[in-house]
Each structure stands twice: as structure tokens, then as C-alpha cells.
């Protein structure tokens, strides 16, 4: 089944004042899928965390502000919502996730290393890919509510 007819793309600046825009747009999509209020909150937080990571980590040494963007894509499938948050930033070595070195770095930057933990615990499936110099992509899936008929 082709689902590009239920596909949305949002392209926002890598700036903290636009994270709320991403949250609002995605909550609009989620509402159309009959997710309940708590599930919509889970989705909003996860998208925010992914955007926040882009703002905090993705474009560290890249100075051209205009090219610093966050791409949010969502596709509605019969039984799940797929969300992709993508950047064209520096990328990073995903092997270092969970290591002491990463935790230390997180703390330096005022973070708690909670962003990815939140996404993993609030969404049903998460996959992460990153390439140095290419950028980072996080894909998350939330299962659609099973309706009582």
C-alpha cells in the first residue's frame, strides 16, 4: 500500500522557538489517528526531544545558519504512525551512546542524557542512524490505538 497520500513533511529552522511548531503539527497528525491524550503527549515529547537534540548537538561547528534545518516527516499507516526527525549536521558515532564519555559530555552541555531514553520509553520502536559529516536520522514508531468496535 502506498501511503505517500498520508505523508507530511515539516522543515523548520534549527532554533528553539520552532520546536513548539513541530509539536503542534505532530499533535494535529496524531489527533487524526485517534490516539488518546496520553499517547499524543508521548508523541509530542518524543518529537521535541529529537528536535532538541538537533539544536543542541547537530550543527556544532557549522557556521552557515541558513543551512541549519530540522526535517520532520510523519506518515500515517493503518496500524502505526511513523515519525522521522533528520538533520544535515555533523553526525556522531552512535557506538558512544551509553558510554561514560557520552554521559560526561551530556552533563557538560547541561543535558542529562535523557532525550533518547525518553524517546525509547515513550515510543514503541526507535531506530537511530548517524554518519560523521552527513547528519543524523531518528525514526520512531507509535502503534495506532486499537479501537473497540
Amino acid at each position: 500500500m502506498s501511503n505517500s497520500s498520508l505523508h507530511m513533511t515539516l522543515d523548520i529552522p534549527c532554533a528553539s522557538e520552532f520546536v513548539g511548531v513541530a509539536r503542534l503539527a505532530i499533535s494535529g497528525v496524531a489527533t487524526r489517528m485517534n490516539f488518546n491524550i496520553e499517547e499524543i503527549e508521548d508523541i509530542k515529547i518524543s518529537v521535541s526531544e529529537a528536535c532538541t537534540n538537533v539544536i543542541q548537538h547537530a550543527y556544532g561547528n557549522i557556521t552557515n545558519q541558513d543551512s541549519q534545518r530540522i526535517y520532520i516527516q510523519s506518515t500515517i499507516y493503518d496500524d502505526y504512525l511513523e515519525i522521522i526527525v533528520k538533520d544535515n549536521g555533523e553526525g556522531f558515532d552512535t557506538d558512544m551512546l551509553g558510554t561514560d564519555e557520552q554521559k560526561e559530555k551530556s552533563h557538560e552541555k547541561f543535558g542529562l542524557g535523557l532525550g533518547l531514553t525518553f524517546i525509547k520509553s515513550l515510543m514503541d520502536d526507535t531506530s537511530f542512524s548517524s554518519q560523521k559529516g552527513q547528519g543524523t536520522t531518528i525514526k520512531m514508531i507509535k502503534k495506532a490505538p486499537v479501537l473497540d468496535l
Partner: protein
């Protein structure tokens, strides 16, 4: 509707109660952080954060609360967070912050009782 963000401070039994309105995210956190730093700089070691009227909070907000708690930990400082919402209780649980000098309470009354 997007609601404006505000942080207001009230004092009861000599304890500052920080009432937060709106969404706590990477955009609004700096303002919250500033207010909390001011309270600590002025000597407060016990704080109540009232999250009853927030529409949203994520790891950025929890990070700010955690950093504040850590700053006053060595002087027996404590933060009481008021929220009756399940969603907020859930992310506090996921974050593991409650183990430290941060306590979740359902109401202002119960927070004040714990503190006195």
C-alpha cells in the same frame, strides 16, 4: 492554543512556591533557569515547583530541575514538585530523578506539610 509562558513566585511558610504556566521546553527553559538561580543565589534551599498549570514538559525541563536540585544538594537543599498529572509522574519515573533530593507531591498542601 499556545499559552504564554510565565514563572511567578509566591512565598508560604518562608518557602518560595514557583508557579509555572505554559510549556517548559528548550525555548522557555532559560527563563525558568534564571528564576531558579535567583532564588538559590538569594539563599533558598527548599523550593516548591508548582507544575499544575503547565501544558508540557520534556527532558529540558527535567534537566533544569535536576541541575537546581544538584546545586543545593550539598547543603541539604530539597525540591518539591507539585503535579497530579499522570503524564508528568510518568516522565519523572522514567528519568529516575525522584531518587535524589526531588520529591513529587500531588498538592501544594502535601508539599508544605512534608516541608514543615
Amino acid at each position: 492554543m499556545v499559552v504564554g509562558f510565565s514563572v511567578e513566585i509566591e512565598e508560604k511558610q518562608n518557602i518560595p512556591i514557583v508557579h509555572i504556566n505554559g510549556e517548559i521546553d528548550i525555548y522557555t527553559c532559560p527563563e525558568l533557569r534564571k528564576k531558579l538561580c535567583e532564588l538559590i543565589d538569594n539563599g533558598s534551599r527548599k523550593l516548591i515547583l508548582d507544575l499544575e498549570n503547565i501544558q508540557y514538559i520534556d527532558s529540558t525541563g527535567l534537566g533544569t530541575i535536576a541541575h537546581t536540585a544538584r546545586a543545593i544538594e550539598s547543603e541539604n537543599g530539597q525540591i518539591f514538585v507539585i503535579s497530579s498529572k499522570n503524564q508528568i509522574k510518568k516522565i519523572f519515573k522514567v528519568s529516575g530523578l525522584e531518587k535524589k533530593n526531588i520529591t513529587l507531591c500531588d498538592t501544594e498542601t502535601s508539599a508544605l506539610k512534608e516541608l514543615s
